[in-house]
């Protein structure tokens, strides 16, 4: 049985842990608000980009379609991009994304496909290196820059485009965490290459007589790599918002658990102290009676 002093120390240490988790919770809440705004601000660009590409793609079909849009016509070499956070203390945030990616990778390998992996975020690298060290092409760390922005997405998109152009890959998929709400993030796999065009987005204006400067094909050629960047940026921003949401929830839980523990320990401590006082009193009374 621990002594009173030991118990006091224990309560003190749980209290300071609680202070830390509480502070981290508040920091995450503040950052969540900002990254949510950021993710929302980035949405109009991505949407316009998607609808413009849908319009253009409707006009350019068949053999002259750029390869980023049409694909190589093969399905052998797969590139999987796994985007997670750089830091931990966010519950199962990164693990969930990696789990989804791992299922996909394993099923691809089981089907005899060649798989290459790009890891974005330190957590993703740490886990994937262990499992698929030989397949990892490169890792990107997000904390090189203070905020997630175009400068974070650009190098990733460039590497993907380069690998695709040089024939190292046929299909590119991106795994990230979709931000549904503060408490719900859904690990998602999205196909980047060949580009997925949603038919519904091709509005009536697609049939209108457009004038193109330069040609449709050339516009698509410049637009598609840019779309890649935009999609990656959107995913990174969602990831960031999701990370802070997840961290906030995890830290909230930790703070509550620490509170419960403090209550239980304090009760135990008080009981023990009372028992000691009672014993001392009995000793004194017994001593006095003996005289």
């Amino acid at each position: 049985m621990a002594s009173l002093k030991e118990m006091r120390n224990r309560i003190g240490s749980v209290k300071s842990t609680q202070k830390i988790t509480k502070a981290l919770n508040m920091v995450a809440a503040a950052k969540l608000k900002r990254s949510q705004e950021q993710a929302e601000n980035a949405r109009p660009y991505a949407q316009r980009m998607a609808s413009v590409i849908a319009n253009l793609a409707a006009g350019v079909q068949g053999a002259d379609a750029p390869r980023l849009l049409a694909g190589t016509g093969e399905d052998q070499r797969h590139l999987i991009v796994v985007a997670t956070a750089d830091k931990g203390l966010a519950g199962g945030f990164s693990s969930n994304v990696i789990k989804a990616a791992r299922e996909r990778i394993n099923s691809l390998i089981a089907n005899g496909k060649d798989v290459k992996i790009i890891a974005v975020g330190r957590k993703s690298r740490d886990q994937l290196v262990r499992l698929y060290g030989d397949k990892l092409v490169r890792t990107f760390e997000l904390s090189e820059h203070k905020t997630v922005g175009l400068h974070s997405a650009q190098p990733i998109a460039e590497l993907i485009a380069e690998m695709f152009e040089s024939g190292q890959t046929d299909v590119v998929q991106l795994f990230y965490s979709q931000f549904k709400s503060v408490i719900q993030q859904v690990p998602t796999g999205a196909q980047l290459v060949p580009a997925v065009i949603e038919d519904a987005q091709a509005t009536e204006s697609a049939t209108a007589l457009y004038e193109y400067e330069p040609s449709e094909e050339e516009i698509l050629e410049t637009l598609l790599p840019r779309n890649l960047t935009t999609q990656i940026l959107a995913a990174l921003l969602e990831n960031q918002a999701g990370f802070f949401g997840s961290q906030m929830a995890a830290m909230d839980n930790a703070t509550r658990n620490a509170g419960d523990l403090i209550n239980a320990l304090t009760l135990q401590y008080n009981r023990k102290r009372q028992a000691q006082i009672t014993t001392e009193l009995i000793e004194i009374i017994a001593g006095a009676e003996a005289i």
Partner: protein
């Protein structure tokens, strides 16, 4: 040539400008162009340069680093790679 032009200038990180204007001048890859209300459908990529927005007597100028312009029945949309207002 009646009414106003619906114009929005969007950068990857945020929407920079959205509203009704009289005229927009932009730097296309094959030469600068101006868009007035009721312009025919038109699509072009942009080079580095300056976008000028005319709104009554007021003018606003934005620096852009490449991008893409789309004119359709609903108005003009510019997707800029990077854009910032010139304040001078």
């Amino acid at each position: 040539m009646t009414g106003k032009l619906n114009f929005s200038l969007v950068a990857p990180e945020r929407e920079i400008f959205a509203g009704q204007v009289d005229q927009v001048d932009a730097p296309g890859v094959e030469g600068d162009f101006g868009v007035l209300p009721g312009h025919a459908p038109f699509m072009t990529t942009l080079r580095e340069g300056v976008i000028t927005i005319y709104e009554g007597n007021a003018r606003r100028r934005f620096d852009v680093k490449g991008g893409f312009a789309d004119v359709n029945g609903e108005g003009l949309t510019i997707l800029a790679e990077e854009a910032s207002e010139i304040t001078a």
